[in-house]
Symmetry: C2
Subunit: 339 residues, 2 copies
DNA sequence: TTGTAAGCGTTATCAG
DNA sequence: CTGATAACGCTTACAA
């Protein structure tokens, strides 16, 4: 059943193993006639090349490594799943590893992948990732959390957030709170910048309109519980002082914030609009459904795989490939009530 | 940097490559003294054995394949993550694949894994999985969705559900609705059986107490939307007729059901208790927090890996290893109001 | 207990 | 364009 190797094929086809190998690897210099005949025999015999032997002799393992901080995070889960699909389409498989946002573990995992001879690594760097030396010669594409000095692929967080703020502004909101991500996280800072951009811009064009003053930014981790307490913080003031809309840096934060509002007796979206970021499936499962800025996860994954397989030219240093985000309208945003 | 092979080690240690190999593989017949010396040199040189060569020559790849229906499902995501950790502890890595509950894709993935020479496969079979021939000689452990005729590892769904029903009974509920999973799914049927067990048992010991009559079971897919419509179905009757508690077969169903109740103006848990099953992180993120029966995912994953690595004897045919579930108390269950 | 040497299944080089 | 043939880095009889 499984004893069939390249030699059997060669013998049965009356050619040499070399020829079979060339056919297997789409080497151009083989007669079409021959190629057809041998291919038929291959299929007939049910022969499959042995990946281990291939990756030992050749320099290709058809294996891609993915290192992410946390598979439990729906965003990363979808990223991995999309990458798996994209890779499978090219005959590649995926080895996943979780770093738990721990730099040492991450370094170890990358070393493992290197020794596995993976053909490339897709990396979402851990947050305390600072001085890791990436192995040279091995294609690595940094995804989502872009690192200065490395090429990468990600959603355009900054413009995505700007888009979201515009949406709130157009609804008539003027006191727009922002729950920021952890300060040491690159995408968190990008999102914050997007918020500041949009607010600044609104201020400039708002001749008479006042953009309200009190602190409207709260820093928090990306998770649910942090979003909740940040929400509490932002909402803990008189009605005509507190924000009429809150933009959270992640859907999980947004959902936590919804809960905070609920506990304070503030109806959504009547008295408070909430906008999330990410577009995870969970967003459409809340009551009311969360309006959110969706990242094109599949596109990101596909692009990353394409780059690793040299199907697409890699992004240049400090000049990442960015994908546009779009607003996914739910039921948590509406025009503000008059004070 | 990377040119160091077993020969370098051997030369530098003044031994043969064979000896080094034996040391690498913990072969018993090597002097401790020698072992220590060579090990030191290995570490010193930063030598790492080439996995491709190893898996080609030997019969071990230190690779485990995992095939699941959907990585986006938080339950499976956690399963994979836990397995990855467990495997890493033994020097093993994980190749993940998604079948999308599609039998053909699943078969293809399994074949790929076989040719990769993985040392074992952890499989959550797709639901339209009927007549797949599993490759012989390759350890496969079926997880979560047990298939009759195969050995497997899973949570004890039946007893878990029974536990949940007991909880509701103790709170005083007598009309307990049940949202079942899709009829063709094995765990769904196990859960349904658990419900029937508990109800039956309650009926027997309930001398005078009446266990209410009207249809209290609704079949639905495991997802959110299905849970919602099943909830609507069960709740669409007069207050003194409808269930005072609903047990859903998945957390996602339960959350959908919460939304249905909400839309009908039925307060939770005041007028309706809701109990979920799975214990995904999402369960603690709803408002109010969902009470649920938690599956010990990490234990399941660890056991599956242990079996694949022969660290633990495999479960016998038709005699699966089952792990107990436990109730995770949230805020959606309370004593029923009088009619 | 340790050394020697023969492959494992492919790919790549080099002739023909 | 195709056929021999030598590696690739390691494990494992078999010998010593």
């Amino acid at each position: 059943m499984s004893k069939v190797g390249i030699r059997e094929v060669a013998k049965l086809a009356g050619v040499s193993t070399g020829t079979v190998s060339r056919i297997l690897n789409d080497h151009p210099s083989v007669t079409n006639e021959l190629r057809a005949r041998v291919t038929a025999i291959i299929k007939d015999l049910g022969y499959t090349p042995d990946p281990s032997a291939r990756s030992m002799r050749g320099k290709v393992s058809r294996l891609i490594g993915i290192v992410i901080p946390d598979l439990t995070n729906p965003f990363f889960a979808e990223l991995v799943q999309s990458a798996e699909q994209a890779a499978a389409n090219h005959g590649y498989n995926i080895i996943v590893m979780t770093s738990f946002d721990h730099a040492a573990k991450e370094a170890d995992r990358i070393k493992q992948l290197t020794s596995r001879k993976v053909d490339g690594i897709m990396l979402v760097p851990s947050n305390d990732f600072h001085t890791l030396k990436l192995p040279k010669g091995l294609p690595i594409v940094v995804v989502d959390r872009l690192m200065p000095g490395y090429s990468g692929i990600a959603a355009d967080h900054r413009n995505g957030v700007r888009l979201g703020v515009e949406h709130l502004l157009q609804l008539g909101h003027r006191r727009i709170g922002f729950i920021s991500g952890p300060g040491h996280s690159v995408p968190a800072n990008d999102r914050l910048r997007g918020y500041l951009d949009a607010i600044e811009q609104a201020r400039e064009r708002a001749d008479g309109t006042r953009m309200a003053g009190p602190p409207l930014i709260a820093e928090a981790a990306f998770d649910y519980e942090s979003g909740r307490s940040a929400g509490n913080y932002l909402l803990a003031r008189a009605r005509n002082e507190r924000p009429t809309a809150i933009f959270a840096s992640s859907d999980q934060q947004a959902i936590g914030c919804m809960r905070a509002a609920h506990d304070l007796g503030i109806p959504i979206p009547a008295a408070l609009s909430i906008l999330g970021f990410d577009g995870i499936p969970l967003a459409s499962m809340t009551t009311p459904r969360l309006t959110t800025v969706k990242q094109p996860i599949q596109d990101i994954a596909a692009a990353a795989v394409a780059v690793l397989l040299n199907k697409q030219t890699a992004p240049e240093l400090d000049n990442p490939i960015l994908f546009a985000c779009e607003i996914l309208k739910g039921e948590t945003t509406a025009p503000p009530q008059p004070d």
